[in-house]
Every structure is written in C-alpha cells, then in structure tokens.
C-alpha cells in the first residue's frame, strides 16, 4: 500500500476506480469554540433559573392552570378558534386566487377592481373591519337580492340571517384575501414564462394553462408564506371580540379569568392551546411543501412501477424496441 505512494498514474495504466491505495485519512484536531460553549452554558443557566422560579411562583397559579387547561369550555373554544381559522382561510384562498388572476389579467376592468379591493382591505386595520362587520345589521338592516331601484326578489333581515360567528368569518376572510392575493400573485409571477408559452403552443387555453401548469408550479412559492398566514390567522381570530363574537379561545379564557379574578393562569391556558394548534399546523405545512416540491426538490424515489402490474412486461418490450432504435441510430452515423 505504501510503496506506490505519490506516483499517480504511469502512462497507459488506468487507476482502479475504488483506489487500492487509499489516501491518508484526515485526522485533525477539531477546532475548539470556547466562547460558543461558554455562552451556551450561561444561557442554559438562565433558562433553568427562569423555569425553576416560574414553577414556584404563586402569581402563575399553576393549580388553576392545571384545572382549566383541559376544561370543556376551553377545548370547545379552541375548536371554535380552529373553525374560524380554517373557514376564513379557505374562503380567503379562493378569493385570493381570483383577485391575483384578475390583477394579472390583461383586462383593465378586472385589474382596477382587484387593485381597489387590495387598497381598501390592506389599508385598514382588521380590528376596524371586524367592528364594521359587526355593525352590518345596523348599516344594512335588510339584505335583498334583485335589481337596483326595483322591488327585490328576495329579502332577509340581516341580524337574524348572519350570526356573529359568520360575520367574523366574513370579516377575517375578506381581510386575509387581500394579503393572500399578493402571495398568489408573487407565486404566479415566479413561474417561468416559457411554461405558459409551452402550454399555449400545445393548444391549451389560458384557463387550462393556468390551472394545470402555472398554478401547480406556483404552489411551491405560495405555500411557505401561506403557512405563515394560517398561523397568523389563528392568532388574529383573537380579535373577533370586535364583532363581537365571544366563544373563541381568547375571549372564553378571558371570561373565565374574570369570573375567577385570575387573569394570569388563563392567559397561560390560552397560550398553551394556541401554541399546540400552531405546532400541528406546522406539521401540515411540512407535508404540503413536500407534495408540491414534486419534480423539483431533492431526488425522490420514482413512483413504484407506475402502479400497474403489467408494467414489467411492457417495459421489457420497449427496451427491445429502443435497442433496435439505437442500432439504427449507429448506422446513421
């Protein structure tokens, strides 16, 4: 092993691929990071001290926390919060797609409508918007369907038709759609122009190329910030008290806290639930991102034999044909 050392390749000799002569393994003393270690130790000490102190601190009322963290009222409120989040996000996503496509279309009317919508809903605070939605029945006592200046075909009293829960969802969704629309627009713009061109050249209509080619590819760019928006929405639902809707997680824990005269432990209860839901959402985001990285991200095992039992025989046939093709090809050269 040692004798043939440095002389790499005599002319004509081919070096063996796996190297019979292994190069000397690098065995270096690792670089030390004393400051890094010191800072880590200090932070650890501070953290332990804080937890130790918090565990014993009476103001936190861990007994009350323990008693209410799995209270039925709280878990129901958490479910309401989750519903507010999911429903408003789904509506917002659909609206956002429409708004983004309108904004990117060549139709000047669509473009202006989308721009104006964004201007209004991004330009005013969500708390103010939610308050407005709560006052909907005051501003518009009846909702009617029909033509302007004519007797309406259908008429409903606003107050009894829409609950505060629904108004909260509408308010959150419309506000969120303005932000999501910008995310969707950025995603669509991130897709190479050649993709739409190729789809167009294949005779696909604009709608087909959008739905099948452009939007699926834009998802890769859209999902990470949208995950962020979902988590943000989960917490924004704590503002629905402006509507006023009072059965969400934060409002409910605040009500309980008021009756107990113990605000701190119930804040902890609410925080624990928000944190738990956020964690679950983060897991969901991870899987969605993986799904839409198809064909782009790190190499992924190809689909298991295409799912057809006949696959092996057919591929064998094709190999024969392609071999024939290859020999044919050689003759041409």
């Amino acid at each position: 092993m040692t004798s043939s050392g440095p002389d790499r390749s005599a002319p004509g000799s081919t070096p063996s691929p796996h190297g019979a002569d292994a190069a000397p393994v690098v065995k270096a003393v690792r670089l030390r990071h004393p400051w890094r270690n010191l800072i880590a130790v200090i932070i650890l000490i501070i953290a332990v001290a804080f937890i130790w102190d918090a565990a014993g601190r009476t103001a936190y009322h861990w007994d009350i926390f323990g008693k209410y963290v799995f209270d039925k009222r709280i878990s129901e409120a958490a479910f309401n919060t989750l519903q507010l989040t999911v429903y408003s996000m789904v509506i917002a996503a659909i609206l956002a797609l429409v708004l983004a496509v309108m904004r990117l279309s060549s139709n000047p009317v669509f473009k202006s409508i989308s721009w104006f919508y964004l201007w209004i809903f991004r330009g005013t605070p969500v708390y103010v918007q939610l308050t407005f939605w709560g006052l909907l029945s005051v501003i518009y006592p009846t909702l009617s369907i029909g033509l302007p200046f004519m007797h309406p075909w259908l008429e409903f009293p606003t107050g009894s038709t829409l609950t505060f829960f629904e108004l909260a969802i509408i308010g959150l969704a419309l506000n969120e759609s303005a932000y999501l629309a910008e995310i969707v627009r950025a995603g669509i713009l991130s897709v190479d122009r050649g993709q739409e061109e190729a789809a167009t050249a294949l005779g696909m209509t604009w709608t087909q190329s959008m739905l099948r080619i452009v939007i699926p590819q834009s998802m890769r760019v859209i999902i990470p910030p949208t995950g962020n928006e979902v988590i943000s929405m989960l917490k924004t639902t704590s503002l629905v008290t402006a509507v006023p809707y009072s059965l969400d997680l934060f409002a409910r824990s605040r009500d309980i806290a008021t009756s107990l005269f113990a605000p701190v432990p119930l804040l902890l209860v609410a925080s624990a639930w928000y944190l738990a839901i956020t964690s679950v959402l983060m897991v969901g985001q991870y899987y969605l991102e993986k799904r839409f990285a198809r064909g782009i991200g790190a190499a992924r095992p190809t689909k298991g034999a295409g799912g057809t039992t006949a696959a092996p025989t057919t591929t064998a046939q094709f190999e024969v044909v392609s071999e024939a093709y290859n020999t044919d090809e050689k003759e041409h050269q």
Binding site: A201, G203, M204, Q208, T302, F318, H332
Partner: protein
C-alpha cells in the same frame, strides 16, 4: 410544387415590430407540405420571431401569414380582418407543434404526464389511449424507459427529446423548432438532431431555426438566411452553403463553418 397545392406555410410580406424596433421586414416565403426548411442567421435577425408568428405566439403587424391557406390569428370577413377569439387561436395552435430552446417541459410532471397533458385536456383523448401513445412516442425518441422520470432527472438532450414527443402527441401537421440544440452540451446535440432527422424522414413538415450547419446540409430541403429582419438569401441548402451569393451570407458562414 404545382399551382393547385396549398402550401403548408405561406408568408406574404410579413412585418413585425416590438415598439420602434422592426424585427421582421416584409418576409415572404413558402413552405411546401413535407418540406424541411432551416432558418439560419445571426441572433437578432428575426428568425425566432418569425417562427413564433407562425404559431401566433406573436401577432403579425403587416402582411399575411397563412398555414394551409388559413390566416394565422385572424379571420377575413369581406376585406376586413377580425382578431380570433383566444379559443379559436388555441384551436389553430393544436395542429402546429413547437419545440423550444429551453425545452419548457412541465417540471411538476413526469415525462409521460408531460406528453399526455395536452392530448387529454385539449383533444379529450382517454387516459389509457393517451398513455399508450405517449409510450410509443417515447420509444420513438429513444426514451422508452424514462416515462416515469421527472424532467429534473433527465439530461438536456433527454428533456428535449421528451419535448419533441410532447409536441408530436398532438399529431401536428407542422413542427416548429426554435434553436432546439442551442441550450445543450455539445455531446448531447447529436441525439436530438437524430430524432429530428428521423422525423424529417417520416415526412413531417418542419421549420427549424438552428446553427447546426451539418443538419441543414444533410436534412433540410431548403435554407433561408435571414439578417436584420429580411430574407437575404434562400435556396437549396447545399448550394447556398457551398456557394453563398450574398456578402452577408458569406460573412456569417465564414464564422460558423
């Protein structure tokens, strides 16, 4: 060509400008059915733009451009031209295949999925039929075993061959190639040109923008040399390449040959 035969492509004084930049200046040429025409010329000479006009990816400003006698992108009603509805324009494009310099395969779909997409969505072909046809086409371009591969896992040459198969899946009557080998590593150019040569031999009408002089000499029926938005010289490729008449053609060929 007999007088009665309708040419596949007929350009009559076609002009096109981008802003103040006129990229096509009164181009007139005819491509017969089954003809392979190579468009040659320095970059910026308007060859790609002309190709894109045939597919109505760009619209023509002046002149008339016809495919099989039908005006591209417009309808004639009396002496007036009407823009086509996007759906009608899409219907025209179905019959014209296009292969791009940068392949433009759909990265989120496997090779098979790339190929069956348009036949299924546009021509409403059933999935099983479309897949069978796609496999046949992949075999034809020498990639019978790559159906389940995503474009990112294929070499440039393989991607371009899938792109050719994708265009062929629509059973086009005319194939447009926009510098199909310009983005490829030199050792991958041959495999794509071989597929194109076979396609030419099968009788496909093709218009090829390329710098591959060898392909032009060997495969093409006609060669058109463009520069500055005009057709400088055209004719039999072997003649034009061996004995260029125009100074600009000579200057260009002396650089690429």
């Amino acid at each position: 060509m007999t007088d009665t035969e309708v040419p596949m492509v007929q350009a009559d004084q076609v002009s096109k400008s981008f802003g103040s930049n006129q990229v096509l200046k009164s181009i007139s040429l005819t491509v017969r059915r089954g003809e392979v025409m190579v468009l040659l010329g320095p970059s910026g000479s308007g060859k790609s733009t002309f190709l894109r006009c045939i597919n109505h990816l760009e619209s023509v400003d002046a002149g008339r451009l016809r495919v099989e006698g039908t005006l591209v992108g417009y309808k004639e009603k009396g002496d007036k031209l009407h823009e086509l509805h996007p759906k009608e324009a899409a219907a025209q494009r179905r019959e014209i295949g296009m292969v791009f310099q940068r392949f433009n395969l759909f990265p989120h779909m496997t090779a098979i999925e790339n190929i069956i997409e348009a036949p299924m969505r546009v021509n409403k072909v059933g999935k099983a039929t479309a897949i069978a046809r796609a496999k046949e086409l992949l075999t034809r371009v020498g990639l019978g075993d790559k159906g389940d591969a995503y474009p990112a896992h294929l070499s440039g040459g393989q991607q371009q061959r899938v792109a050719i198969a994708r265009a062929l899946a629509m059973d086009p009557k005319l194939m447009l190639f926009d510098e199909p080998t310009s983005a490829l590593d030199p050792e991958l150019v041959g495999e794509v040109l071989d597929v194109m040569k076979k396609l030419a031999e099968s009788g496909m009408t093709m218009i090829v923008v390329t710098h591959e002089i060898g392909f032009a000499r060997e495969v093409a029926d006609s060669l058109v040399f463009m520069d500055g938005g005009v057709v400088v010289e055209s004719g039999d490729p072997r003649e034009v390449l061996a004995n260029p008449q125009h100074e600009r053609t000579k200057a260009f060929l002396s650089k690429v040959l």
